[in-house]
């Protein structure tokens, strides 16, 4: 009897193993990749030029867009704004009759299928598979943030499905051997802080502030930024010295002791790189401690300004340096709405949703814009044609967050955010003064105000 069981188990294993071998052999070779961007084409002209020829496949009834979001859990605060921003774009497109899809030469309505992964990576992986294998989506968009995006990367690659990655900035996702991904709305973490380290090594050092403290949350997003900054500041010839460098768990919510430790190192500049909750806790603790540093930089005041202002207050933010995103710096878009128009639309649709308007909302909307432009210039819905279309937008597509630009691995290297300093405005408000790079600056930094 036992022998029969063993034989049965071996047979089962063979069936599964044979499927694996077959799946490996049946992979087609990747197609040559190239560009196709024709600018912002007149839609009627595009339709005429690309009308389907006899014998070509009929247009589908709709374009199915698969997406994941997290309505609960630790990533809900960054995921929900992206989801709602994307949803807003889909609703606007459908209200106008759909989006132009070049292979079919006409507008098609969009259907957004977005599942809730509840911030659980395992669930996100299963739902990514569900979108691809069961819902038969045409375009796949990952959830927000690196942790939830990570699980979708190999699945999309395995199914040869191009992954539109809104904000998963982990550098490990982008490699030469994976053509099935592009980062759309956040610069990759290794590149994002470029203006910051340039600012530190030029203007800040020239002002005599050369001792830098780096305090970062140990997650892929901020850890990679910290590593990039560290490498740049330690490069030969750098006028800057790192006097404090420590990673803390992302769950850290009390920075009082850490601020004392930093102060003991007597830095001129403190860089605190964390998620929203980290930045709020750090800025509150800094204010309560009464400790002063000539320059303090944190990430999120410029990314989720409303949330930071609500929780850290005007006094907590005044004097702080941060990235200046499209929330406070106007980029004239060639495609889609301006910031003001988008904010108005958001307020009309989601004022009562409880989700704050911020950078991630814009990121969701920009993801939609890239999708729309991709459909307008792709030769077919085959995924490598979709990739070719996305890459053809690189360096040419200008949205409300700046110029969309990809490197050859699909990492976003455009849309860099300048560095700004926060000043109080009115009774409770704040405004940003852009201080770097010089080409974008509209004011000078004032050190020693924090």
């Amino acid at each position: 009897m036992l022998r029969r069981i063993v034989v049965c188990l071996l047979a089962i294993a063979c069936v599964a193993g044979a499927r694996g071998a077959w799946a490996q052999q049946s992979r087609p070779a990747d197609e040559r990749l190239g560009g196709c961007f024709d600018g912002y084409l007149d839609k009627a002209q595009t339709a005429q030029a690309t009308a389907p020829q006899p014998g070509e496949p009929a247009a589908p009834a709709e374009i199915r867009i698969g997406h994941l979001h997290a309505s609960s859990g630790p990533y809900a605060s960054i995921s929900m704004p992206v989801y709602l921003g994307l949803k807003l774009w889909v609703e606007q497109m459908n209200a106008g009759g759909g989006v132009m899809v070049k292979p079919f030469g006409r507008k098609l309505p969009l259907r957004l299928i977005s599942y809730d992964d509840q911030s659980n990576p395992g669930t996100a992986a299963t739902l990514t598979n569900q979108l691809i294998t069961q819902d038969k989506i045409d375009l796949l968009i990952a959830d927000s943030g690196s942790v939830l995006t990570a699980v979708s990367v190999p699945i999309a690659r395995e199914h040869k499905m191009f992954l539109f990655d809104p904000t998963g900035t982990g550098a490990a996702f982008f490699s030469k051997d994976n053509p099935y991904i592009a980062l759309l709305a956040d610069p990759v973490s290794t590149v994002w802080p470029r203006f910051l380290w340039e600012f530190l090594k030029s203007d800040v050092a020239a002002a005599g502030l050369t001792r830098v403290a780096i305090l970062y949350s140990t997650n892929d997003f901020t850890g990679t930024q910290a590593a990039a900054i560290r490498a740049a500041l330690k490069a030969p010839g750098s006028p800057v010295q790192i006097v404090f460098d420590q990673g803390v768990p992302t769950s850290t919510s009390n920075y009082a002791v850490l601020i004392d430790n930093i102060a003991a190192a007597k830095p001129d500049v403190v860089l605190e790189l964390g998620y929203v909750g980290n930045d709020i806790a750090f800025l509150r603790n800094l204010q309560e401690s009464g400790t002063k540093f000539p320059m303090v930089f944190t990430l999120y005041p410029g990314i989720e300004t409303s949330t930071l202002l609500k929780n850290a207050g005007q006094a907590g933010l005044s004097g702080v340096f941060s990235y200046v995103t499209a929330l406070a710096y106007s980029y004239p878009p060639e495609v889609g709405m301006t910031l003001e128009q988008f904010r108005d639309s958001w307020e009309k649709s989601y004022a009562k949703s409880g989700v704050e308007f911020g950078w991630n909302a814009i990121a969701g909307y920009v993801t939609g814009l890239v999708l729309g432009q991709t459909l307008a210039c792709t030769n077919s819905l085959a995924q490598l044609d979709v990739r070719k279309a996305v890459f053809s937008l690189s360096g040419k597509l200008k949205t409300l967050i700046g110029t969309f630009e990809l490197n050859e691995q699909g990492a976003q290297i455009g849309e860099l955010t300048p560095i700004g300093q926060i000043a109080p405005e009115g009774k409770d408000g704040i405004h940003f003064t852009v201080v770097y790079p010089p080409a974008m600056a509209n004011g000078k930094p004032i050190f020693g105000t924090k």
Binding site: M1, L2, I5, C8, L9, I12, A13, V15, A16, G17, R19, G20, A21, W22, A23, Q24, S71, S72, Y115, D116, Q118, N120, P121, G122, T123, A125, T126, L127, T128, N129, Q130, T133, Q134, S146, V147, A150, V151, V153, P154, I155, E158, G170, A172, F173, S175, D177, N178, T218, N219, D220, G223, T224, G247, P249, T250
Partner: protein, 306 residues
């Protein structure tokens, strides 16, 4: 023992055959893989909780240790997947040995201490100071060994081995000794049962199963972060599935996984906004009306559940 073989053939073999053939008719292979993974975890938990009464809230610690055992073998030893799977098992076993003194505790104390131990392992793995070894909090990428279909087959084999183990425990002298320990360790010891040795073996077997599950999970998913591998929901799900179906049986955890994880996915896809409400109500009802799981509906009437 003949009854154990019969139970395996009637309960486990059809399940294994169905799971082997399922990808041919249902293409969301990852969902099927997750079913297998939770079946393994639920049976692994069954081996320690069902037979000895020790409920490890931090069971995910072994799972994460296995996942990182696999990842470290691939990253640093350039191991191929099968030797790396062995490393996954060894990593979990080693952790099991280190945590063996926890067996001196019992009840809620053991559960909480075990949970704390799992969190400690997670913090060590995700420590940025160990970035060169574990990649710290920045996650690992194992794309060089990514082979979902093959890892699916290996997961199936692990499940088969786990089911054989549980069938054996259900019917062998050793399993009966464990159940005697669960009911009353003092009486069992007086009757000549080696209490410490029995518990320790069950504990290590349970750790090994979770470690192998973690290893095959790492292989199948290939890109993950420490918070993915040490996600507490693995422990919670494994416990709930086992309790729902009925511990100390082979069929109970299987029913728990098939029904509850199936429901989890149906709810998650159709009405995710009600997920926590529906799942919460179900668990409350379970605790109130079926504390010994679905299997007790049958055993109450004097029937034996495989």
């Amino acid at each position: 023992m003949r009854r154990g073989v019969r139970e395996f053939v009637t309960v486990a073999l059809p399940l294994l055959a169905a799971l082997a053939l399922a990808p041919l008719v249902y293409s969301n292979e990852l969902l099927l893989f997750n079913f297998i993974m939770f079946l393994i975890l639920a049976q692994g938990l069954n081996a320690i909780y069902g037979f000895t009464g020790y409920l490890p809230f931090g069971y995910v610690g072994f799972f994460g240790a296995g996942a990182y055992g696999f990842a470290l073998a691939v990253m640093h030893l350039d191991a191929t997947p099968l030797p790396a799977m062995a490393c996954a098992g060894v990593a979990a076993l080693a952790l099991g040995v280190v945590l063996t003194p926890l067996l001196r505790l019992s009840g809620a104390y053991f559960a909480i201490a075990n949970l704390a131990a799992a969190q400690a392992v997670y913090q060590v793995i995700s420590n940025p100071a160990l970035q060169d070894i574990t990649k710290g909090p920045y996650g690992v990428t194992l794309s060089s060994v990514f082979a979902p279909a093959l890892s699916y087959g290996v997961a199936l084999i692990i499940l088969a081995a786990t089911l054989i183990l549980v069938a054996w425990l259900r019917n062998a002298r050793f399993g009966l000794a464990l159940q005697a320990i669960r009911e009353d360790p003092v009486s069992a010891a007086m009757a000549g049962v080696a209490v410490v040795r029995g518990r320790t073996i069950a504990w290590l077997l349970s750790a090994l199963i979770a470690g192998l599950a973690g290893g095959v999970f790492a292989w199948h998913i290939s890109v993950f972060y420490p918070e993915t591998a040490f996600d507490l929901s693995f422990s919670i799900f494994a416990i709930v599935f086992t309790l729902f179906g009925g511990a100390a049986t082979q069929l109970g955890p299987i029913l728990g996984v098939l029904l509850l994880y199936g429901l989890y996915n149906v709810i998650g896809i159709t009405v995710p906004q009600y997920f926590q409400l529906i799942y919460g109500v179900l668990i409350v009802l379970l605790v109130l009306f079926l504390p010994d799981g679905l299997a007790s509906l049958v055993t109450r009437r004097g029937f034996r559940v495989p």
